[in-house]
Symmetry: C2
Subunit: 79 residues, 2 copies
């Protein structure tokens, strides 16, 4: 089963990479605000059901993929 | 208008970060394969329509957010 995880800095957490992207886009003539940078993790795993896959991936997030103090995550399972 | 961009390493492009995540997950007892790491960019922009917003964000991807030689991108516009 294929899973996609989106890991984003939580609201209120400073995101210097996002601020840098915003400044750079501004210099290129684009007007944007609120730019935030996170990461996307795609992976393949064995699981009997989508629910089981989701539970496994959530454990991975808590243990490795995200820092729950400063990041939130969303899990998508592609059947 | 709010946009989300997913930037991923193209197929066939080496992804050492993905390989490291796979090894680390393996050490934690998870069995996964094909782990790939990319980035997610969330931003807010002014546009008259979703199509115009998409066109603008695609330009941003080509000029700054993605390296088209080694990365592909997907744009989602949230009305």
């Amino acid at each position: 089963m294929r899973a996609t995880v989106l890991v984003r800095p939580k609201q209120g957490i400073l995101d210097p990479q996002g601020a840098a992207v915003e400044t750079a886009l501004d210099h290129l003539g684009f007007s944007v605000s609120g730019a935030r940078i996170g990461k996307v993790v795609d992976l393949e795993l064995e699981a009997a059901s989508a629910d089981e896959a989701r539970a496994q991936v959530e454990k991975m997030c808590e243990q490795l993929l995200a820092n729950p103090l400063i990041e939130s995550y969303d899990v998508e399972i592609h059947a």
